[in-house]
Every structure is written in structure tokens, then in C-alpha cells.
């Protein structure tokens, strides 16, 4: 079920009515759990079994880990959790990728490997990382295991963030299941506001931009340089509005239900360095990768060369997490290399960090960051390397081709520029739409009208559903 579907609004209304009708907190949590399973089953009930497996294995592993003091047993339990979770993820997401890659390598030797028809379960990458963080945190003795199975099941399957994040840590969510949630006007307003803003980003901006971006990428090399640049910038806006829109909706819905999630985006396109970009983009994933991959690999504690290797490894795996294709791995590697260069530059040059220096310095840092991010998006979006290279050829050699300056893409470019400039100049107060501001109701209703009146008729799933 998508947040943008009419069925979802009915589903959410029913959940809210039930939550208000049922007074007991345990009853409310059970309603949320049943609702979450229905929400997932609406896509395909058969894949609920994977969530059940993940839930049962990690619940038991967590309890046993906490009880055991034997390092060998603890390691074995952690390993069991890793094998089950990563095994499911690996099979459903990466089996065909590795088979196809092996096939390409072994074909000259006469070997033939058969790939399988595997459906990628929606949200598997997200809930796998979520349950892994739970077990690893217990192993590290950072948190205590959840004593109530249904609470833990709700942590794994909570519908606002089940299928596309943000990735919520057990340490943040489980304590919220200990005290009854309060439904207040302020919370409902804040949640509703964030949901409407997310809906607007997703439906009005991202989905409409998709109609332009999809065509240009599908016909890489056919459009002229200016059109290709516009399409790549439009894709940068699309993926930001699509994913941050989903995160806003998820956070907003959770807030209405009485739960708090951390922000997942913080104006990533004003970043003045690539390191800054990753502090602002998909924060729940980048912090997850930092805490559960980069730091365990040694982080920056094992010398300069090892730090760069760790950075590259983290980003390569981060790229692979996004999708089972070499273009995603390259995208991760490209960002890893950029982060390594950025780190080397800030450590070896005594110059001031771009974020703090002269405005021209800041502008230069921003331009460079945007160039890296945009080139990265080309590999992220293009289905093959040849298409990505065709796009880059058009962009950097400004080659001729079909001209298509889509009016809506230009409008969105202007709109994003204004919003980001207002944010950079710290003059975005009026965009925050506080409850008692005179303009808030009119703006929020207008956003809703625009979403409803100008929603694209073509079905556009959320980009991050495929991850």
C-alpha cells in the first residue's frame, strides 16, 4: 500500500478511529501491529513470512545474547542473526545479480548458470538493517533486549517506516513502546503538516518530474547537452523529493500516532562538501553504515591508508545496498573516492574548510559537491554503464540532439533554488508553517489542492521501494 493511494487514507482513518476507541496502550499497540501486517500484506501477503522469520530469529537471538556471558555463544548467536537476515536479503536481492555476474565471467569457459525468477520483497533492505541493528546493539551491550514479543514485532513492522525507512534504531523506538502515546492537537498538527509537505514533494514534484526524467534517461544520448543537464538536475530534485517526501510522510504519520523519528534529510543540496552531503542525505542509512560497518572496520583509528580503504568499502557496500547492479556499486565507489579525496584534502591542506571560509570558497565547495553528486546520480539512475556514459558525453561535450526544455522541470528548478537559498540565508521561518501563523492553513490547504488537482495519472511507485 502506498501513502498516496486512496486506500491508504481509508486504512489510516480506520487505524486512528480504533486507536481512539481502544483505551489500553497494549490494545493500541496490537492494533498498530495488526495494521502494519495488513499494510504489508496489501502488497503481497506471502512475503509476510520473511518479516515473521526476521522477527522471531532476532527476538530469540536478542534474549539469548543478553542472558549469555560466554563470548563464543554470544558470537554464535550474533552470527546466526547475521546469517538469517543477510541470507534472506542476499537471496532475494542479490542472488540473480551474482549469478548473472558469474555467468558473464564463466560464459567464455563454457559454463552456463541459470538465474531464478525472484520477486524482491518490498522494504527488505530497510527492515533487515533495522533488525540487525537491534541484535548488534544487544551484542555490544548498548541496549537491553525487548521483553515483549509483540512490542518487538511492532518495532520491526511499524507501517509508517516499514517499506522505505527511515531506518529506526531499537534504542530510539522500543522505549517509546513503554509509555502510552499521547494524541494532542500540536502533535497531530505537526505530523499532518509534515505528511502534507511530503505528499506535495512526492506527488506534485517528484512524480511529475519523473515523466521528463524517465524519458531522457531511457533515451540517453538522444537529447542535447542542455536537455541532458536539465534532466540530471531534475532527477536530483526528483529523487530528493521522492525519498525525503516519503520520509516526511512516514515521520508525519508516526508523529500523529504518537511516535517520534529522527529527521532523515537536512537540505542535502546546500552541502559545501561531499562529507557534509552525507551528513544531510538519508541520515538514517549513513549513520547506520557509520555505526555498523565503518567503525567496526576500524574507522579512522587504523592509519591513513586503512581509513581510505574503510571509507571505500563502506560506500561500495552502501551502493550495493541500494540495488543489485554494478552501476550502484560504482555510484557507491564514486562517493567513497570523493569522500577519501575530501578527507585527504582537509587533512593535508591547511586551508580553511569550505564551510567556514570566504563566500567564494564556500561557493566553490558547493559547486564541486554538486558536480560530484550530479555525476553520481547519472550512474545511480542509468540502468547500464553505456547509458550513463552516453548521458555524461551529452553533458560535458554539449552535443547536439533533441531539445526538450520541459517547463515543469524549469519551474521545479526555480522553486528548489528559492527554497534552498532561503534556507542558506536562514530566512525560511515562514516556510516552517507553525500552527498559529496566519498563513499556515492557507499554504497547507493549497499544497493539498495542488496535489489533488495535478497528480499525474500514471502510477509512480516510490523510488526507494526498489531498494
Amino acid at each position: 500500500m502506498l501513502f498516496t493511494q486512496i486506500e491508504f487514507f481509508l486504512f489510516f482513518a480506520v487505524i486512528l478511529i480504533l486507536l481512539i476507541a481502544v483505551r489500553s496502550f497494549r490494545g493500541q499497540k496490537l492494533i498498530l501491529l495488526a495494521g502494519s501486517y495488513y499494510f504489508y500484506a496489501y502488497w503481497d501477503w506471502r512475503f509476510l513470512s520473511l518479516i515473521f522469520i526476521s522477527t522471531i530469529v532476532d527476538f530469540i537471538a536478542g534474549r539469548l545474547l543478553f542472558r549469555s556471558e560466554n563470548p563464543k555463544t554470544r558470537k554464535s548467536l550474533l552470527l546466526l542473526s547475521l546469517i538469517v537476515n543477510l541470507g534472506l536479503l542476499g537471496f532475494f536481492k542479490y542472488f540473480n545479480f551474482f549469478i548473472d555476474t558469474a555467468q558473464a565471467l564463466l560464459a567464455p569457459l563454457g559454463f552456463h548458470l541459470q538465474s531464478l525468477h525472484i520477486i524482491l520483497p518490498v522494504g527488505i533492505s530497510f527492515y533487515t538493517f533495522q533488525t540487525l541493528s537491534y541484535t548488534i546493539d544487544i551484542y555490544r551491550k548498548k541496549i537491553e533486549p525487548c521483553s515483549d514479543f509483540f512490542d518487538f514485532a511492532l518495532f520491526v513492522s511499524f507501517f509508517p517506516q516499514l517499506v522505505a525507512g527511515p531506518i529506526v534504531r531499537a534504542a530510539d523506538f522500543l522505549p517509546q513502546l513503554q509509555t502510552p502515546r499521547r494524541f494532542t492537537l500540536d502533535r497531530s498538527y505537526c505530523g499532518g503538516r509534515q505528511f502534507i509537505i511530503g505528499l506535495f514533494k512526492k506527488v506534485f514534484i517528484a512524480d511529475r518530474l519523473a515523466m521528463f526524467v524517465d524519458v531522457v534517461f531511457a533515451n540517453a544520448g538522444a537529447f542535447d547537452g542542455v536537455t541532458t543537464w536539465l534532466a540530471v538536475i531534475a532527477y536530483a530534485i526528483q529523487i530528493y523529493c521522492d525519498f525525503s517526501g516519503y520520509s516526511d510522510m512516514a515521520i508525519g504519520l508516526a508523529r500523529i500516532l504518537g511516535f517520534d523519528f529522527h529527521a532523515n534529510f537536512n537540505h542535502p543540496y546546500i552541502a559545501s562538501s561531499i562529507q557534509d552531503f552525507w551528513r544531510r542525505w538519508h541520515i538514517s542509512l549513513s549513520t547506520w553504515l557509520r555505526d555498523y560497518l565503518y567503525i567496526p572496520l576500524g574507522g579512522s583509528r587504523r592509519g591513513e591508508i586503512r581509513t581510505y580503504i574503510n571509507l571505500m568499502l563502506t560506500m561500495l557496500l552502501g551502493g550495493l545496498w541500494h540495488g543489485a547492479a554494478w552501476t550502484f556499486v560504482f555510484w557507491g565507489g564514486f562517493h567513497g573516492a570523493s569522500l577519501a579525496v575530501n578527507r585527504w584534502r582537509s587533512e593535508h591542506r591547511k586551508s580553511v574548510h569550505p564551510a567556514q571560509g570566504h563566500p567564494w570558497n564556500r561557493l566553490g565547495g558547493w559547486l564541486l559537491t554538486m558536480a560530484v553528486v550530479l555525476i553520481g546520480w547519472v550512474f545511480f539512475r542509468a540502468p547500464t554503464f553505456s547509458q550513463a556514459l552516453a548521458m555524461l558525453r551529452q553533458m560535458f561535450f554539449l552535443q547536439s540532439g533533441v531539445a526538450w526544455l520541459h517547463p515543469f522541470a524549469i519551474f521545479c528548478l526555480g522553486l528548489m533554488a528559492v527554497i534552498h537559498i532561503l534556507h542558506a540565508c536562514k530566512k525560511e521561518k515562514w516556510l516552517e508553517l507553525p500552527l498559529h501563523a496566519w498563513h499556515s492553513p492557507a499554504v497547507l490547504f493549497l499544497l493539498l489542492w495542488l496535489v489533488m488537482l495535478y497528480h499525474p495519472t500514471d502510477f509512480q511507485p516510490f523510488i526507494y521501494f526498489q531498494f
Binding site: L10, A220, P441
Partner: protein, 369 residues
């Protein structure tokens, strides 16, 4: 205590007022935006002469989804000409679907009007182009509508059927009341007319208030609510349709055209010409596609037309040449896709020019009736 209570109530009232006012302001703003960025609705009226429903005469239609065109609907479903009966000159009648309707371009850029302009500029016969097109129409519609239009259009110089898809000349595809069917035998059937819309009163109200976009939203919401799915997935998908062999298909087409074309020609009474405009050139996976995937069927159709003394204008070479000479695509728009979809202004001009040349080169074949 009482003071605090009353001040809380006052704040609550103020908040509600602010939200009510915000709602009204938002509607006003959305209404202003919709005046520039929304496709208008249109109503249908019963036409006693045609014995069919036509778009209400006098409707000014504004199209924004694809292209950005304004259309004035005249009497009897004729576009850009307020009253066709007032036009005395011989007419070239363009029959077609949404391509002839041409909502995507302004009236003076539509095929029929560009033909009239070219004819006037070329100092040829004073021929007037008349566009009669509605989305989803095909040859069965033209067969039944031609005699009903006869008195209205008199004198007619020739009929041009704009065919952008060969399927429009084949049976078992109609969604309108006039149908060409193949079972149990080839037949042309006219069903009883039914109103194309169920709520003309609401559409009139929407037009009067300029709230077309809001009413369209209500109609869409109704459809979505009716098609809601609440049971868990996955949704079962039907398999691909069973296809006949190539030879069987070609034989079927041949038989269908041997039935349809003589009947159509007889019904029109004045010379009939098909204008074939396939979807080329187009873009596919970065390549400019010049070859028409339906070329074989078109060539068979062309041969069938020749057999039944019906003219055919093949626009394919002109479409290719136009693109190769450095121009852009003749289909598509900046706000949709610039290489597929309906004819843009250049497409309408190219088709009009092709028809004018065709008629010019055959002075003895055509005459006003």
C-alpha cells in the same frame, strides 16, 4: 480561572476562524492557478440532425495536458467553424479521431484550418477544410456519420480519413456506438445512442464557475473509490492474449478491408482519400526510429484501397524528410513528450500541405458535387 477559560476559548475560536479563512483562500488560489493550468471540461448535446451526441456548440475548450491549445467548438461537432451551414464553398472534410480534433493546438493550427489557409495562399480552388473528429472514433463512425452530415456539408469536394493507426480500419476495436464487427460475419452496426456523460448539469455548473479542475477531481475520486481494492495482494495478472499467425492476420485484414472499403466509398458518395500518418520518426532507447512497425499491413491496406479506387496519401516519406532536414518531431509537445503523441502545429501543417499537393496533382479526379 474563568478568565483563563474564556481566553482559551477565544484562542480556539480564533484558530478555527483562521483555518476556515485559510481553506477559503486556498480554494481561491487553486482556482486562479487552475484558470491557466487546467484542461477544461465539456458538455455534450443531442444533435437532432446527426441523431447523435456532439460537444455542445459554442464550447471554448482549453487543453493543457499535452500542448496548450484553445478550441472553439462549432455547431454539429465541427471545430473552429461556428456554423458549418453558413459556409457555401466546396469543402474538404477531414474525418478522424483526436488527431483531427486537435485539442492540443489552437484553432488556426489545426489540420483543416491550415489546409484552408494553404489553399487560399496558393490561389487554388476556394476549398474550405472542415475537421470532424472525436477521440476513439474509427472507420465505423465515419461510415454512419457521413450521410447524416451530407446536407450540412454540401457541397463536398472530397473526404479525407486521417488514419494514424491501421487498427482504426479493422473490426472489433470500437468503443463508440458505431461498430465494425467480424463475428459472426463482417458487419457495420449502429447501437442506440447513449449520453457520453452522466452529469451534464454538474459540468455546466463547473464551466460556469470556472471550476473544471475541481469537478474533474470529484469525478476521478468517484472512479477511484469505485475501483478500490481492500483485500491483500498479490493482484492476479492475466496472461498475454493468444495471437493468430501472421498469415492468418493478414488474411483477416484483407477480408475486413474487402468488406469495409467499398461500403465506405459508396457511403461517402464523393471521392475518398485515406491520409496515413504512422508514428514515425520517434525515439526508442536513444535511437531515432524511422521504420513504421505496421508498414506491411499498411502496404496491404494501400493495395486494398487501390483495388477499390480509393486514394491513399502516405505521409511517411514527408515525416522522415521533415525530421532529416533539421526540423524537430511533428508529434509531441514540450509539456508531454516531444517525439510522440498527437500532432503538434508542424504535424498539422505537414499533413495539410500533403493533402493540398495531392489534390493539386489530381485536378481531374476531384470535383465539387
Amino acid at each position: 480561572m474563568q478568565d483563563r477559560q474564556s481566553s482559551k476559548e477565544a484562542r480556539s475560536v480564533l484558530l478555527w476562524r483562521r483555518w476556515a479563512l485559510g481553506f477559503v483562500i486556498s480554494i481561491l488560489l487553486a482556482w486562479i492557478i487552475s484558470q491557466f493550468c487546467s484542461t477544461t471540461l465539456y458538455n455534450w448535446s443531442w444533435d437532432p440532425i446527426l441523431e447523435d451526441y456532439v460537444i455542445t456548440p459554442g464550447t471554448a475548450h482549453h487543453h493543457c495536458k499535452e500542448g496548450w491549445g484553445k478550441t472553439l467548438v462549432g455547431r454539429h461537432g465541427v471545430y473552429a467553424i461556428p456554423d458549418i451551414q453558413a459556409v457555401q464553398e466546396p469543402k474538404v472534410v477531414f474525418w478522424g479521431d483526436s488527431f483531427v480534433q486537435g485539442f492540443q493546438v489552437d484553432d488556426d493550427e489545426k489540420l483543416a484550418q491550415q489546409f484552408t489557409a494553404l489553399q487560399r495562399r496558393g490561389n487554388g480552388q476556394p476549398l474550405i477544410g472542415v475537421g470532424i473528429g472525436t477521440g476513439e472514433r474509427d472507420c465505423a463512425d465515419y461510415y454512419f456519420l457521413a450521410p447524416r452530415y451530407r446536407d450540412l456539408l454540401d457541397p463536398v469536394f472530397c473526404h479525407i480519413i486521417v488514419l494514424h493507426d491501421i487498427e482504426d480500419a479493422l473490426p472489433d476495436r470500437s468503443t463508440t456506438r458505431f461498430r465494425f464487427v467480424s463475428q459472426p460475419e463482417f458487419r457495420l452496426i449502429a447501437d442506440e445512442p447513449t449520453p457520453p456523460i452522466n452529469n451534464p448539469g454538474l459540468i455546466s455548473l463547473a464551466r460556469a464557475l470556472g471550476m473544471d479542475a475541481f469537478f474533474r477531481l470529484a469525478f476521478e475520486a468517484k472512479t477511484k473509490i469505485q475501483s478500490m481494492r481492500l483485500q491483500p495482494g498479490p493482484v492476479k495478472q492475466s496472461g498475454p492474449p493468444v495471437e493468430n499467425s501472421h498469415e492468418e492476420n493478414m488474411r483477416f485484414c484483407q477480408q475486413a478491408w474487402d468488406y469495409l472499403l467499398p461500403k465506405l466509398s459508396e457511403q461517402m458518395q464523393t471521392p475518398l482519400v485515406f491520409l496515413y500518418s504512422p508514428a514515425v520518426p520517434t525515439l526508442n532507447q536513444g535511437e531515432i526510429i524511422f521504420s513504421d512497425p505496421d508498414r506491411e499491413r499498411f502496404e496491404a491496406f494501400q493495395a486494398a484501397c487501390e483495388k477499390h479506387h480509393i486514394g491513399v496519401i502516405d505521409l511517411t516519406p514527408r515525416l522522415k524528410a521533415y525530421f532529416q532536414n533539421g526540423h524537430s518531431f511533428v508529434r509531441g509537445f514540450m509539456n508531454s513528450k516531444p517525439f510522440e503523441g498527437h500532432f503538434n502545429s508542424a504535424g498539422h501543417a505537414l499533413a495539410a500541405e500533403a493533402v493540398r499537393r495531392y489534390l493539386e496533382n489530381r485536378p481531374h479526379a476531384f470535383h465539387a458535387n
